[in-house]
Amino acid sequence: MIPKFDYHAPTTIDEAVELLNTLEDARVFAGGTDLFVLMRDRLVRPKNLIDLKQISELQQISFDERNGLRIGAAVTFAEILRSEVVKDRFRVLWDAASVLADPVLRNRATIGGNICNASPAADSAPALLVLDAVVEVAGERPREIPIGEFFTGVKRTALKPGEFVRAVRIPTPPPGSKGRYYKWGRTRGEDLAIVGVAIQVNGEKDVRVALSSVYKTPIRIGAVEKIFKEGGPVEEKIKRAVEAVRSNISPITDVRGSKEYRVHMAGVLTERGLRELLEVK
């Protein structure tokens, strides 16, 4: 049983902001695929739940060349997978959506819920990190948070009380850039990552790597970018990038894998991905 609460379903952003700021012990939710499990286990027991799914703006994906991609917080991963523009231009995010949980769960699980739940294993997070996403925040004072500043700890975000995520915005990557997400799990479907590696490449000088499940937050490895900006043979750069990834992460041991295994696989996936995207055999 899910513990008792009062349910609210606002239809506008303003109404949702007001409810969140006036109701006692209130929380927003979208798909409920994280929240209801936590509530069932009595790990959280909010008195009021605010359902964001009746706010139509939060369900929309839009794209134009100049402003980039904007994904409403309550857009599901199933919808992201159906978007041709995400598949063509934001492939690393599409990849992440395609391996998040399982196809049935993806009909409910949302991108806003994924980043706000702020698990170190959140599959969309490394993709958003390498794509320089910006989080649009609704609240009494609307603001924006660069994704690099959004995750502050295990299950912690930079959101303040009374705020919620309205949308995620992603600038259009330059033509010719490529990205992929490599998820290593115990099974092919429906498991959190042992390690996830997102890579976005725009030529040999602009290479970005971010990972899930290897640190207290999803993490982008700045040292890799430095390595690729400098000159030198690509073979050498890949080697140094793998080292940089391994030395900048600090995974834990849990049921999914040991610390050592995670460090090892983080390097393996990074190398595999860099070779694929840079077309180095």
């Binding site: 049983m1 609460f5 009062d6 609210h8 695929t33 209801f36 499990v37 739940l49 769960l105 429906e190």
Partner: protein, 160 residues
């Protein structure tokens, strides 16, 4: 706790009900509407046995509130057969012996039916991927996958 008047269609029939906020769609179907074909197991999104369709899309009903289903259309395993005639997927499950204890069968079939409507000509890999969110403790996956592939063939034949 808040109570809500909801109206929803289940297998084509309109229901008007009052539900408490914390009631899940799964419990509403099983306990209030007596539709026990939908199974209740983990109640945490892992097993997929509670899968029903919400407006034609499969969802795990243990993670959907009844109040969230207000105004929507639900289809359960009871709603698939027409006039006692099984769907091709159901029929093939029988023929392939894809049912052992049967506990996962409603979930498997609800996912497979929806999947084949979107992808009538799947590869074996795609079938495995589609069924990834439903667990069979009896582990009879081989027969289940064969049944779905065979049903796909049957459905393609029927539509040409």
């Amino acid at each position: 706790m808040s109570k809500h008047r909801i109206s929803l269609k289940v297998n084509g029939r309109l229901h008007e009900l009052e539900v408490e906020a914390n009631k899940t769609l799964l419990r509403l179907l099983r306990e209030d509407l007596g539709l026990t074909g939908t199974k209740c197991a983990c109640e945490r999104g892992d097993c997929g046995l509670c899968t029903v369709w919400l407006d034609g899309k499969p969802v795990k009903s243990c993670l959907v509130l009844a109040v969230e289903a207000d105004g929507h259309e639900i289809t359960t395993i009871e709603g698939l057969a027409r006039d006692g005639k099984l769907t091709p997927v159901q029929q093939k499950f029988v023929e392939h012996g894809a049912v052992q204890c049967g506990f996962c069968t409603p979930g498997m079939i609800m996912v497979a039916e929806a999947f084949l409507r979107e992808n009538p000509n799947p590869t074996e890999e795609e079938v495995k991927e589609a069924l990834g969110g439903v667990l069979c403790r009896c582990t009879g996956y081989r027969q289940i996958i064969d049944a779905v592939l065979d049903a796909a063939k049957e459905m393609r034949k029927a539509s040409t």
